[in-house]
C-alpha cells in the first residue's frame, strides 16, 4: 500500500556545519511540493541532544529522516550514527549520510555502522539540489518506514 499524503508535515534533521550546505538543503526542500520541516544541528553533540530530547531540546519532535554529514565538530558523523543505532528508541531512524567524502573507508564505515544510504555531495549547485530532493522524496514519501 502506498502511503498517501499525510496531514502532518515531515520533519528532517540536518546535521551539518557548513552554512552554504544548510542553505542549499533548505532551498532543495523548499522546492518540494508538500510542506516539509527542517531542523539543523551544527555538530554531532547537538544532533544527539536533539534526538534524545535532552536539555534545551526537551520535548523536541522526533524527525522522520536524518541527513548526516561526516566531518563535524565535537562528534563526527560516524559517532552520531553509532549513538543512534545503539539507542533503543532511535535505532530504526532512517539515517542518510550526506558528505563530501568519497573515501571508500568512510563509505564502508558508514554502512557497517548502519547508515541507510550514503550520498556524496555533488559539487554542482543543480546536482546538489536534485540529490537532496531525490533522497528526501524517497525517504519521506516513497518508502514505508518501520512503525516503531
Amino acid at each position: 500500500m502506498m502511503a498517501t499524503a499525510k496531514a502532518k508535515p515531515t520533519l528532517t534533521l540536518l546535521v551539518e556545519d557548513s552554512p552554504i550546505d544548510v542553505k542549499m538543503t533548505r532551498a532543495a526542500l523548499e522546492g518540494r511540493p508538500r510542506h516539509h520541516q527542517l531542523s539543523v544541528a551544527n555538530d554531532g553533540q547537538h544532533a544527539l541532544a536533539y534526538l534524545r530530547g535532552e536539555g534545551a531540546y526537551a520535548g523536541s519532535e522526533r524527525p522522520d529522516l536524518v541527513l548526516l554529514d561526516l566531518n563535524l565538530p565535537r562528534l563526527d558523523g560516524h559517532g552520531v550514527l553509532a549513538a543512534i543505532r545503539s539507542h533503543p528508541e532511535l535505532r530504526l531512524l532512517p539515517v542518510v549520510v550526506l558528505t563530501s567524502s568519497q573515501s571508500t573507508e568512510d563509505i564502508r564505515l558508514a554502512y557497517e555502522g548502519g547508515a541507510n544510504c550514503y550520498v556524496t555531495k555533488p559539487a554542482d549547485v543543480d546536482e546538489f539540489l536534485s540529490a537532496v530532493r531525490i533522497v528526501h522524496e524517497f525517504w519521506c514519501d516513497t518508502v514505508s518506514r518501520s512503525p516503531a
Binding site: 550546505d21 563530501s100 573515501s103 554542482d124 549547485v125 546538489f128
Partner: protein, 291 residues
C-alpha cells in the same frame, strides 16, 4: 627521517675480547661465527624496525594527503556553490568585464578542485590497494586500447605491439601505466597521425617495456621534469591537463620495484621506457594468509 645504526651489542664486544685471547683455532672459529651471527641478527632486527618505521610513516603520509584533500574540497565546494548562486542572482545585470571576472573565478576554482582530486588520486596510488599477480600484458593492453577507442579513432592513430612477456604486477595499475603513456602519445601528436609502438625486452632481472611515438617529442632538458607532480611543459591554452599522468605512472612503476625514463628530442617523437622486475619462477605472490 629514519637512520639505521649498527652499534655492537655489549655482549658482542665482550666476545670479541675473548676471541683475541683464544688459543685454539677451532674455538676461535666458533666464536667468530657466534659474533657474526649476533651482529647480523642485531642488524637485521634494526633493519626490521627501520622498515616498520618507514611503512608507518608512508601510511601516515598517505592518510595525511587523503585528509588534506578532503578538507580542502569542503571550502572549495562552498566557493563553487556561492559563485554559481551569485551569478544566477546577477544574471544579465553584470557588465561584460564583470562577467569575465566571474568566469575566471569559476575556472580557477574548478581547476583547484581538479588539482585536489589529482592529489588525492596520486596519494592513493601505491597504498595498500595493490594486488600483484602474474599477468599477460597483451590482454591488458587490448582492454586499454578498447577504452581508448574513441581517442584512437579520432586521431587516426595506429598502434602496433611486439610479443610481450608475462609479468607480475597489479593489473589495474599496470593498465593505468599503458593507458597514460598511450594517451600521451595521442595527445602530444605531431602533424601526422600518431604511430605508437609497444615493445619489451627481457634483461637479467627485469623486463623493460617501451611505448614509442612519432609525436612532438620532449627537449632533453625537460626529461626529469615531466615525471614531477603537477609539472607541465605547456600552457593550458596549448594542451589541457594537470601535470599528473606521468607522475602517477612513475609512482606506479616505482611501487612495483621498477624504473621509468625516456628517450626523446623535440620534434622527433618520444620513447618511454619502464622496467618491471622479472619473475623467473613465474610464481604468483600470494598476499592471502591462511588461518
Amino acid at each position: 627521517m629514519i637512520s639505521v645504526s649498527v652499534d655492537e651489542a655489549p655482549s658482542t664486544a665482550r666476545r670479541r675480547e675473548s676471541l683475541e685471547a683464544a688459543p685454539d683455532e677451532s674455538a676461535a672459529l666458533e666464536q667468530l661465527i657466534a659474533v657474526y651471527e649476533e651482529v647480523s641478527l642485531s642488524q637485521s632486527r634494526k633493519l626490521e624496525i627501520a622498515v616498520a618505521d618507514l611503512r608507518r610513516s608512508n601510511s601516515e603520509l598517505a592518510r595525511f594527503a587523503h585528509a588534506v584533500s578532503h578538507d580542502l574540497q569542503e571550502p572549495l565546494r562552498a566557493v563553487v556553490f556561492s559563485t554559481q548562486l551569485l551569478l544566477r542572482e546577477l544574471d544579465g545585470k553584470l557588465e561584460p568585464e564583470a562577467n569575465e571576472l566571474a568566469a575566471d573565478i569559476v575556472a580557477g576554482v574548478l581547476r583547484m578542485r581538479a588539482l585536489i582530486g589529482g592529489l588525492l588520486d596520486y596519494s592513493q596510488v601505491g597504498s595498500s590497494q595493490i594486488a600483484p599477480r602474474l599477468l599477460e600484458p597483451a590482454a591488458l593492453l587490448a582492454d586499454v586500447l578498447a577504452d581508448l577507442g574513441p581517442a584512437l579513432d579520432e586521431s587516426g592513430a595506429k598502434v602496433t605491439c611486439d610479443a610481450l612477456p608475462h609479468v607480475v604486477a597489479d593489473p589495474v595499475q599496470l593498465g593505468r601505466v599503458f593507458q597514460n603513456l598511450i594517451a600521451n602519445a595521442i595527445k602530444f601528436r605531431g602533424p601526422e597521425a600518431p604511430c605508437i609502438h609497444i615493445s619489451a625486452e627481457a634483461h637479467a632481472n627485469e623486463h623493460v617495456f617501451s611505448v614509442a611515438d612519432n609525436g612532438i617529442g620532449i627537449d632533453p632538458s625537460q626529461h626529469q621534469r615531466v615525471f614531477a607532480l603537477f609539472q607541465r611543459l605547456h600552457s593550458p591554452a596549448e594542451y589541457r591537463g594537470l601535470g599528473l599522468g606521468l607522475a602517477i605512472v612513475k609512482r606506479i612503476v616505482e611501487v612495483h620495484g621498477g624504473r621509468i625514463w625516456l628517450d626523446s628530442t623535440e620534434g622527433c617523437g618520444a620513447r618511454f621506457f619502464f622496467s618491471l622486475p622479472s619473475d623467473p619462477s613465474r610464481s604468483t605472490p600470494s598476499p592471502v594468509s591462511r588461518e
